[in-house]
């Protein structure tokens, strides 16, 4: 019995060290980031587009707008294609095909983001530059690259959401003479709505967190982009570009950008959790 107690104690120590390690990060980021926001003033920090660290101007509005544009763009592309994919794989494709395609999707979620970024730079950017004009490095390029990147994540969660809908719902609707497509639109999508919304939110969470691929294809210009073809700098790429040489207030401003991202993503996760729990309460209670 004594050995049992000892092992229990060891597990406690390891658990505490892990949890304190994770708490350390959160505390460290907030301790480094929040004071500068207060010093500069939240209104100045969040609502000014003047980012000039050498002169002490720390306004991240243009980068927040940049992140927003790119994330929404990626979500639009991600949703359209992954919803189509999820519906086809769960409803309209022969079982052997969906059985082989599903693991392929999971594999593609593992591909490093720099690969997506590189292919974007080499193929997509020149294409946009020639056909649509502008520098090619743009919100559009970043949205497409991120859209493709988060697509596997959204698709696999969407497939789970669609498969969670009880088969009896679908059979009931078909028994009333509805075509499979009508069943999908009127029954399936409505029943799995919360799971799908959660999938999109989590997809956006991953898109807003991407850094290197965005640096490669977005152009990293400081001004707020006025159109799809304008270059853009997101919150994450700003941190990556400047953290090597930032010091003092400038480094704290980068941590403040990190705090902003941390809060945004926590809100996204909580929203996704709330949405999926709200409708799925019944499913999980089985």
């Amino acid at each position: 019995m004594k050995r049992d107690k000892v092992i229990g104690a060891i597990l406690l120590v390891v658990a505490l060290s892990a949890i304190s390690g994770l708490a350390l990060i959160t505390v460290f980021i907030f301790r480094e980031g929040v004071p500068i926001i207060l010093r500069v003033g939240a209104k100045q920090f969040f609502l000014s587009t003047d980012w000039e660290p050498s002169l002490g101007h720390f306004g991240i509005l243009s980068m927040m707008v940049g992140s927003l544009f790119v994330t929404v763009g990626a979500a639009v592309i991600g949703v359209v294609f992954s919803l189509g994919l999820a519906i086809v794989l769960t409803q309209f494709s022969p079982p052997w095909l969906s059985a082989t395609l599903k693991p392929v999707i999971e594999l593609l979620a593992g591909i490093p983001s720099v690969v997506y970024g590189f292919v974007g730079v080499v193929t997509l950017v020149p294409l946009i530059r020639h056909s649509l004009g502008g520098p090619g490095l743009s919100v559009l390029a970043a949205s497409i690259v991120l859209g493709v990147m988060v697509l596997p994540t959204i698709t696999s969660i969407a497939i789970d959401a669609l498969q969670a809908v009880p088969k009896s719902y679908l059979e009931g609707s078909m028994a009333l003479g509805a075509t499979r497509w009508q069943t999908v639109t009127m029954v399936l999508l409505r029943a799995a709505r919360s799971g799908l919304v959660a999938a999109v939110i989590l997809g956006m969470g991953r898109a807003i967190g991407e850094t290197m691929a965005v640096i490669m294809v977005a152009g990293n210009a400081l001004d707020v982009p006025h159109g799809l073809l304008d270059p853009v700098r997101t919150l994450t790429s700003n941190i990556a570009l400047e953290m090597g040489y930032a010091s003092g207030d400038h480094r704290q401003a980068l941590f403040a950008t990190g705090v902003t991202l941390f809060v945004i993503i926590t809100l996204l996760n909580t929203a996704a959790l709330a949405v999926s729990r709200q409708r799925a309460g019944r499913r999980r209670a089985q």
Binding site: E52, P53, S54, S62, V125, P126, R129, P135, G136, L137, I215, G219, N220, A221, L222, D223, D230, P231, R233, L241, E242, G244, Y245, A246, S247
Partner: protein
């Protein structure tokens, strides 16, 4: 249905030898996973110990303008002095100063002159001079650009190539991140007080600027003269060709110092490498690569 409880002794048929695996197959390899984990961790830590003793390595970090040249020197130095290792990493000039200050690197590489505050903290060692080339896509017909035109282009006041002798079309200025020494020199030598346009595309290294200008006919950027190579067109400024000869002769005045920067006392291994860089052979190597030697 067998209702007879078999007596403990009697056994029908041959003795049943139950060939069973070891006690708890899965549990055994779970234990072995744990043991192998401990062994690997031990090995890694041991090799850490032995690594540290074999020859202190010299690490350089900083300006992406100096990095390729420093890498070339490091490789030559490594051949001539086996056992002495010199590592070179990029990140930009101010990152180099940061690294030297915080002990992340033995020598910081900086491609701009130090500010007053910085020169109190660091001891700069001039290893060469480098021209600041204005580069455009080879297809761009522009013959020469004046300093004022350059300032207007990069400040965003002039946005069409036909105003500076190029084909009609939008101008796309490309700049470096703020920590770059090349940018700092560009701002000091060209912009004189005016801010670079917020629409300028920002790249974080000379190589990235080069790749972008190579791909975009409408682009104009600035980079280390020594790294221009044949794929880009270096534009004469005020009619003066950006060549090493013109820089040496002082005709092409967009020039900046390339510095090694150290903080406090320099360890002997680093000093040996610095001496090599400043030696005639080191200077000859830098000159052949397109830099302006200082000795």
């Amino acid at each position: 249905m067998d209702r007879r409880a078999p007596s403990a002794t009697g056994r029908d048929g041959e003795p049943v030898s139950v060939a069973g695996g070891d006690a708890l197959p899965i549990m055994v390899n779970a234990k072995s996973i744990f043991q192998s984990w401990v062994v690997i961790l031990g090995l890694v830590l041991i090799c850490d110990g032995c690594g540290r003793t074999s020859g202190r390595s010299v690490s350089l970090l900083g300006s992406t303008s100096i990095q390729p040249f420093a890498e070339m020197l490091a490789e030559r130095y490594g051949k001539d002095h086996p056992g002495e290792f010199v590592e070179v990493q990029g990140g930009g000039s101010t990152a180099g100063l940061q690294a030297a200050e915080k002990g992340l690197a033995t020598i910081g590489m900086c491609s701009r002159s130090l500010t007053a505050k910085e020169s109190l903290l660091f001891t700069p060692i001039l290893i060469a001079r480098d021209g600041l080339a204005i580069v455009v896509n080879p297809k761009n017909p522009v013959a020469s650009i004046s300093i004022e035109q350059l300032r207007a282009l990069f400040a965003g006041r002039v946005t069409n190539w036909n105003e500076v002798g190029g084909k009609d079309g939008p101008v796309r200025p490309i700049t470096r991140e703020e920590g770059s020494g090349t940018r700092e020199s560009f701002v000091r030598l060209i912009m004189s007080g005016e801010r670079i346009s917020g629409r300028a595309l920002t790249q974080e290294s000379n190589g990235a600027v080069k790749e972008l200008v190579k791909g975009d006919p409408a682009a104009i950027g600035y980079m280390s003269l020594g790294l221009v190579g044949k794929e880009l067109k270096a534009v004469p400024v005020d009619g003066i060709e950006p060549t090493v000869k013109n820089v040496q002769a002082g005709r092409y005045n967009l020039v900046r110092p390339l510095l090694f920067v150290t903080k406090g006392s320099v360890n002997p291994a680093a000093q040996k490498f610095i001496d090599f860089v400043l030696s005639p052979e080191g200077q000859r190597l830098l000159a052949t690569e397109g830099l302006v030697r200082i000795r």
